[in-house]
Symmetry: C2
Subunit: 148 residues, 2 copies
């Protein structure tokens, strides 16, 4: 049935971030929805943030759009303009190529969860708060091009 | 701010369905999120179904994937296999080309709402319960090719 059985999809807190930037996402537990359901035109993840966890380092994508739908709990969206509290039913959109990094932080004492969709071209992107970029082939580099 | 201000986006119950098939979606009030936010790689809508309203005629897409996230209220998903009640936090995925039509019906006495994402190629599709197909250029035809 196309209603997704989340419990049947493996959940992971894996990250490919360099070790020095991975601690904030240790409490980010996600399920990849596209491989489990046969979607091929965009990606989607169901994400649970434990208290204190970040959704990612604050980033943007040069060639991909993102859409987020808040499901449960509360998180704080951080962008260049500041902080916005997100609650169930809130929706966020980040079009490709806008160099205004975003991430969510769960500052509450309970889990929060959301669905995030991403689609477009994997052409890399940047991070707002750390000396890092990501490339079209998913490598992490310092801004001057040195490898991590 | 990338948190979407839904109230600032026009809401419509417009439909391009032929008149004889449009009545069930008269209580479907939607907002197109991509044009309002600059997303270009997939489409997304915020949809409210009034009591009794259908999300669409029961359909599938030949070249587009769909993902739905239930936000508020309750709806019944109808597919070839039968009925599934959807509640807030439920997620559905319909990969392209699966000729098993789906739609949601609000059988409750309160509004329900969801976000639906669609991406891929507009190559047409079919309807399960009525003599209608839709084409790559968004025309509605009878199954034998006659126009509506």
């Amino acid at each position: 049935m196309p209603k997704i059985d989340l419990a049947a999809i493996p959940q992971t807190n894996a990250t490919t971030y360099p070790a020095e930037h991975s601690a904030p996402v240790a409490g980010r537990w996600f399920r990849r929805l596209a491989p489990a359901t046969g979607l091929s035109h965009f990606g989607a993840s169901h994400v649970v943030l434990k208290p204190g966890a970040w959704s990612s380092q604050r980033h943007w994508h040069d060639g991909e759009d993102e859409l987020l739908v808040m499901l449960t709990g509360e998180a704080v969206l951080i962008e260049d303009q500041g902080r916005t509290v997100l609650r169930p039913g809130d929706i966020c959109a980040w079009p490709q190529g806008v160099a205004n990094g975003h991430h969510l932080i769960n500052e509450s004492d309970a889990d929060c969860s959301f669905v995030v969709v991403g689609g477009g071209a994997r052409t890399g992107g940047g991070y707002s708060d750390i000396d890092m970029i990501f490339t079209a082939d998913s490598r992490y580099l310092h801004r001057d091009g040195r490898s991590y």
